[in-house]
């Protein structure tokens, strides 16, 4: 199906690749399914350390810039994990010059306002209260595929003109697709 190299890279460039981080085996399976059913490529790992290793930030390997096959478009991480928690993982990612542009979403079963604020301030794009819904994934996907301008230049179909909305909101130099969201709207919606 996929041979390493240029052919698979082209195929993969359409699909969003999400790195899901959660110590719960049940939640990993659940989120993985939500993402796959939403046509995303998924890599699910059980800890922050594993996530950093996957992202090439384990301190030993050098960033291999040409290896787009493993490119991650979104990181969804649980907050409460043993060892490195989701907040600490978020910090590490935002401190990395190579990884800081990757949007990070925090998932938590606890809707604690100080926790939410802390995560958003540290650069999390959203804070989702568990259990994650299919509509959450769809929403994230829509935001990413609309705002994802710089990452698909190889594919002529995806470099069609942006909507005027995107143009208006993309005045910042950051390539993060979430920047046009009002900070307050990233707060978790009330369940119901």
């Amino acid at each position: 199906m996929s041979t390493a190299g240029l052919v698979s890279r082209r195929d993969c460039s359409h699909q969003l690749h999400v790195l899901a981080v959660d110590d719960s085996v049940v939640d990993r399976k659940f989120v993985e399914r939500l993402l796959k059913i939403s046509s995303c490529k998924v890599t699910a790992v059980e800890s922050g350390i594993r996530a950093l290793q996957f992202l090439g930030l384990d301190g030993e390997k050098k960033e291999t810039a040409g290896f787009d096959g493993l490119k991650v478009n979104l990181i969804m991480t649980d907050y409460s994990m043993p060892g490195m928690n989701g907040f600490e993982l978020l910090k590490k990612i935002k401190e990395s010059s190579t990884l800081k542009e990757i949007p990070v979403v925090i998932m938590s079963s606890e809707n604690i306002l100080t926790r939410v604020d802390r995560c958003l301030e540290e650069g999390a794009e959203e804070f989702i209260v568990k259990p994650v819904k299919l509509s959450d994934v769809k929403r994230l996907k829509n935001i990413l595929t609309k705002g994802d301008k710089g990452q698909n230049e190889e594919d002529p179909l995806l470099s069609l003109p942006l909507s005027s909305h995107d143009l208006a909101s993309s005045s910042t130099s950051s390539s993060s697709p979430f920047k046009f969201l009002d900070h307050r709207s990233k707060r978790p919606r009330l369940q119901g």
């Binding site: 110590d23 085996v25 049940v26 939640d27 399914r33 043993p82 079963s109 259990p131 299919l134």
Partner: protein, 149 residues
Amino acid sequence: MEGVAQLRRQLVDYLTSLFQEGFLDNQFTQLQQLQDESNPDFVVEVVNLFFEDSERLLNELTKALDQPSVDFKKVDSHVHQLKGSSSSIGAQRVQNVCIAFRNYCEEHNIEGCLNCLQQVKQEYSLVKNKLETLFKLEQQLLAAGGSVP
């Protein structure tokens, strides 16, 4: 040998009762909606993971509460995990006991914790039984040539 229609009816009634009695909540329906022809065993797979995980956690909880000096932080951590996974599959009653359990952990109330441990074991055992019965009914329906609603 029951007909397909009867088996189907039995399955639907049983599932409905599980919701009515609070064993399962809407999250279980979410799981069912994620199942399709490409992933026909998704629900069974997730639920089996839940069973394995829960049994591990219940063992850990039993050990932790049996210590001469109870580490409530550790106990709470296990309960938090159990609460999370039961919430993810819609095992409402288990989840509810976990909420009370966590409160007792916070209070360092050993009696309360031990009671909750017993309760959560009971609720887990009940929902496990119910889900296994549900899956059996599904199998019967499929074997008779019917399709799962």
